[in-house]
């Protein structure tokens, strides 16, 4: 499995603290720290979801996600060979490991349960997914409805005259806990179908590799992936609005530069056409501007609704292209035809009728599960999550008003357990008629932690820790993170045996180009991207869609051929190499690169 000269990965116990950030342990709960026995297991850096160091509150995203994921794998469906995911945090970075069941008797015991339960979802998938969407809408409505109490000088008289019996300060902690409760429910729903979906993908991928041993992974992905995916809608809405602006003759404000506010003000002064455009903007905003600029794991990745500058930064380019008569539409009809053709031609090459029937069954199942596997993100990691962070921000605002924090945004430097404490401090203080004591306690902590997180950003996290596993069983680990035996071989390759100036990864989208690299670690930096540059990033999220029109090629640290970067790069017809493990640490902005998306090789040319 491993190249003969491969350097082994470091052990968790061998990792040293980042200089100046030695206090990082205080940001995260005890159960996230590496323990001596963890040295015996294989951990990989989950840079797909957590490409930056975790602010203290944001660690809740991994924590709650993994409570849901494991529950469904281990306890609900009882996947026969896979248990849940464990996570650890070191130097602010999240490492995860997946468990396999090794005892054959245990596998059989679990298999019996799995065989009883999994069919219910597979057989009723579309109907159950329909119900699921309703439940998610319900959760989104509920999180929006959570009220952060005002804590007035005197309670509203209604408390007395309607004998409510409970004062406002009670609701402070209750409301905060409600947010966490709803967040947890969201993550459970997130995983309800997911592992079964990846199971279907895995089976089809493996089948294709047996029938067509030399088929490219990205080609199998093209057969599975549907075209009308919700995560493409936000960008499509922007294009729609750009075309409409030109049609209505209200495009000038977009080309004049200026803030979204200024642009909107200018348009609202443009009479009936302006009013119509604003109306259409509102239609697009709910729900499509609820997309996050990240992937759902950091508070600073806000939604387009929270911060219009992100979507509006794409409008000038789209407007210019429309005016020049260029098509900006995603060629969905052509994509659909291509997909149908590819499927038909591979199907025709399957050697026997029996295998062809099996092919139809397996691919058919992938098509059934695909909408959930791709679309759930929009509801969960984007729409719900941005509302969740927005609500937490309101608690931050409360703490700021009460003098506990310098600014509301600082709330994200407290663990959720600590926010609970800070709120109780406020509740006690309000009850006693005195100021809360928290300022003296929390403000220095917040200052220190901001410094720590900043320093942690510079750390080159090893792509993995610990000894290589015997096998990768977990369908999600293989299909989502793209971790297979091949990935491990690529990551563990001693740089001396690869060309010093080369990186390898998955060939995600064909073609070979040369160009100048732009390393972006944070999606908020996408405004820095210049036309024709090569994007180098930890991972791309659907929010990065508008930047794909500018770039010449894409290189990512993590991701497989089903990842967003791969799918979008293929649609735009540009080369992409994903899952390199180390692109963002080895490449500098301004460096000249050659990206070979046929072979999965990135060459540093200077």
């Amino acid at each position: 499995m491993r190249a003969p000269n491969a350097k082994p990965f470091p052990l968790p116990s061998e990792i040293t603290d980042v200089a100046g950030a030695e206090g990082w342990r205080d940001l995260y709960p005890y159960y996230t720290r590496f323990r001596p026995e963890d040295d015996r297991r294989f951990w990989f850096y989950n840079s797909m979801h957590f490409p930056e160091p975790m602010p203290a509150f944001d660690a809740i995203t991994g924590e709650v996600a993994y409570t849901g994921l494991g529950a469904y794998t281990t306890r609900v469906f009882a996947f026969p060979t896979a248990l849940g995911i464990e996570h650890r945090i070191v130097n602010g970075r999240v490492y995860i490991t997946a468990h396999a069941v090794s005892d054959p008797d245990e596998v059989q015991r679990r298999l019996k349960v799995f065989q009883e339960r999994a069919p219910h979802y597979y057989e009723n998938w579309p109907a159950l997914y329909g119900e699921w969407e309703k439940r998610l809408h319900g959760l989104i409505t509920e999180i929006d409805a959570v009220e952060v109490p005002e804590l007035p000088d005197f309670e509203d008289a209604a408390v007395v005259f309607e004998a409510e019996g409970i004062a406002q300060n009670h609701y402070v902690r209750a409301a905060f806990n409600r947010c966490i409760e709803l967040y947890s429910k969201m993550w459970h729903h997130h995983f309800e179908f997911l592992m079964l979906g990846y199971g279907a993908y895995l089976v089809f991928f493996q089948f294709c590799k047996q029938i067509f041993p030399e088929i490219a992974d990205q080609t199998v992905a093209r057969m599975v992936a549907g075209i009308d995916v919700l995560m493409f809608r936000p960008d499509e809405e922007l294009k729609r609005l750009a075309k409409l602006a030109v049609e209505l003759g209200v495009d000038a404000p977009f080309l004049s530069g200026g803030s979204p506010q200024a642009m909107l003000e200018a348009i609202s002064r443009m009479g009936e056409p302006g009013r119509r455009w604003m109306e259409e903007l509102d239609r697009s905003r709910e729900p499509w501007f609820n997309v996050s600029t990240g992937d759902g794991f950091y508070h600073h990745h806000r939604s387009w609704n929270d911060d219009l500058s992100v979507p509006f930064s794409a409008l000038p380019r789209y407007v210019t292209m429309v005016k020049a008569g260029q098509s900006i539409d995603r060629p969905t009809e052509q994509l659909k035809r291509e997909r149908v053709r590819i499927i038909a031609e591979y199907r025709a090459l399957v050697p026997s009728d029996a295998e062809r029937d099996a092919f139809d069954q397996m691919l058919g199942l992938c098509h059934v599960v695909f909408p959930y596997v791709e679309d759930h993100k929009f509801y969960c990691e984007h729409w719900f999550t941005t509302r969740f962070f927005k609500k937490i921000r309101e608690f931050g605002a409360l703490l700021e008003r009460q003098g506990v924090l310098d600014e509301g945004e600082d709330v994200f430097h407290l663990q959720h357990y600590e926010i609970d404490q800070a709120l109780v401090d406020v509740m006690l203080a309000w009850a006693a008629g005195v100021p809360p004591v928290g300022a003296a306690h929390w403000k220095p902590i917040v200052r220190e932690r901001k410094e720590i997180v900043e320093r942690l950003k510079g750390w080159n996290a090893p792509p993995a820790l610990g000894p290589l596993p015997e096998s990768i069983e977990d369908p999600a680990v293989q299909m989502l993170w793209g971790i297979t035996s091949e990935t491990l071989a690529i990551w563990s390759r001693d740089p001396a045996t690869v060309g010093d100036n080369q990186l390898t990864g998955f060939a995600a989208s064909p073609g070979v180009v040369e160009g100048i690299a732009r390393v972006l670690r944070d999606v908020n930096e996408i405004g820095l991207m210049q036309e024709g540059e090569i994007l180098v990033c930890p991972v791309t999220a659907p929010s990065w869609g508008p930047v794909f029109g500018k770039i010449r090629a894409a290189v990512s640290d993590i991701g497989g051929t089903m990842s967003h970067a791969a799918i979008v790069a293929r649609e735009y017809g540009m080369p992409a190499v994903v899952g390199t493990g180390q692109a963002t640490s080895r490449i500098r902005t301004g460096q000249r690169l050659r990206v070979d998306g046929n072979l999965g090789i990135v060459t540093l040319l200077d």
């Binding site: 996947f79 026969p80 060979t81 896979a82 396999a100 069941v101 090794s102 054959p104 596998v107 298999l111 799995f114 065989q115 999994a118 069919p119 597979y122 057989e123 079964l196 199971g199 279907a200 895995l202 089976v203 493996q206 089948f207 047996q210 029938i211 067509f212 041993p213 030399e214 088929i215 490219a216 080609t219 093209r222 053709r341 590819i342 031609e345 591979y346 090459l349 050697p351 026997s352 029996a354 295998e355 029937d357 099996a358 092919f359 139809d360 069954q361 397996m362 058919g364 199942l365 059934v368 015997e470 096998s471 069983e473 369908p475 060939a507 064909p510 046929n598 072979l599």
Partner: protein
């Protein structure tokens, strides 16, 4: 008739012109680019053989041989070969061949003279490399010499042993000879429309080196390798090798080895457009024959009239065709049963 032109031939003409001749005729008729040529028919061969051996003793002697006794085989085959090479050719045969050569390549352009036995190039037996091929033949005299050598090569020790092992009856074996315009190719190679390594039916495997194809076929050169998806057209794998030498036309006929230095060794012998063009032709031929093909091809020198890719040979792929592949999966009662089965397998 002693001479038949490619354009008038089809696969069914194998008894008259041998496997290679029939195949080149079939390709020409199907509109596949093939360097033009004609075939000296098996009738010519039979005529010459009958003149030498009216009672058919040669064939009977061969059938009585023990294929394991190489010395005995050599003794017989050497004798037969020298008789054929020395035999006089009927006047009308010589005139027919000379006239055809004049029309094809006269007075002095080079041709390839290639054996085309009736029992070769089927899906059961490829006979690869067993019978003679003469490259860069110029002039009628050399042509006749090559012709006789090809006929004689039917009775080489290797060919005879091969036929004895496969128990092919001698009277069913005859020799046609292909005479074809010689392409002094810039690049040549082989192409399989089914992966030779894995048997994958969805890819085309191409191997390429500089100069004439004889260098690659003889194993003297490590070729560049490309794997192309038949469905997406993408080049899914590329390996550029250090190509240390090439075969080129020798000034007085035949082939000469030329060593290659530096840059040329590592320069890809094919550009992407040519790779795609080859894959397209490969797909067409496979479709025409409805079975995977083992193809020899050449690219004309840059700037020459008739640029582009040409096929020199196409025969059924034999290695994977013989392998029985048990189905890797069968339809299940319910689609998700495949998932249940796969996930329940335990450690792989």
């Amino acid at each position: 008739m002693y001479v038949r032109w490619f354009r008038d031939l089809k696969l069914g003409d194998r008894p008259a012109v041998g496997g290679k001749g029939a195949s080149l005729g079939e390709l020409t008729s199907a509109g596949i680019p093939v360097p033009p040529g004609f075939v000296v028919t098996t009738r010519a061969f039979e005529t010459v053989l009958a003149a030498l051996d009216p009672e058919g003793l040669i064939r009977r002697e061969i059938e009585r041989l023990d294929g394991g006794d190489l010395e005995a085989v050599s003794a017989v085959t050497d004798k037969i070969r020298s008789r054929i090479a020395a035999g006089a050719l009927p006047g009308d045969l010589v005139r027919a061949v000379a006239a055809a050569y004049e029309e094809l390549a006269g007075p002095d352009k080079p041709v390839a003279v290639r054996s085309s036995a009736t029992s070769e190039d089927s899906s059961e037996a490829s006979f690869a490399g067993l019978q003679d091929t003469h490259l860069c033949v110029r002039g009628t005299a050399s042509l006749m010499t090559s012709l006789c050598a090809c006929w004689a090569s039917l009775y080489s020790r290797e060919s005879v042993t091969y036929r004895l092992r496969l128990k092919l009856p001698e009277r069913e074996v005859a020799m046609g000879v292909v005479v074809q315009r010689m392409l002094e190719s810039r690049t040549s190679g082989v192409m399989f429309t089914r992966s030779p390594v894995t048997g994958d039916r969805s890819v085309i495997a191409i191997e390429a080196s500089w100069g004439l194809g004889s260098a690659l076929v003889s194993g003297e050169v490590t070729p560049d390798k490309y794997v192309v998806s038949k469905v997406t057209g993408e080049i899914v794998k590329r390996t550029v090798s250090a190509k240390t030498l090439r075969h080129v036309a020798a000034p007085d006929g035949g082939v000469r080895v030329e060593m290659l230095e530096g840059q040329t060794q590592l320069e890809p012998a094919l550009n992407d457009a040519e790779i795609h063009a080859l894959a397209e032709v490969g797909k067409r031929v496979e479709l025409h024959y409805r079975s995977p093909q083992d193809i020899e091809w050449a690219v004309a020198p840059d700037g020459e009239a008739g640029e582009g890719v040409y096929l020199l040979q196409s025969r059924p792929e034999t290695v994977w065709a013989r392998r029985d592949a048990a189905p890797v999966a069968k339809p299940a009662a319910r689609a998700y049963d495949h998932v249940l089965a796969a996930l329940g397998k335990g450690r792989r």
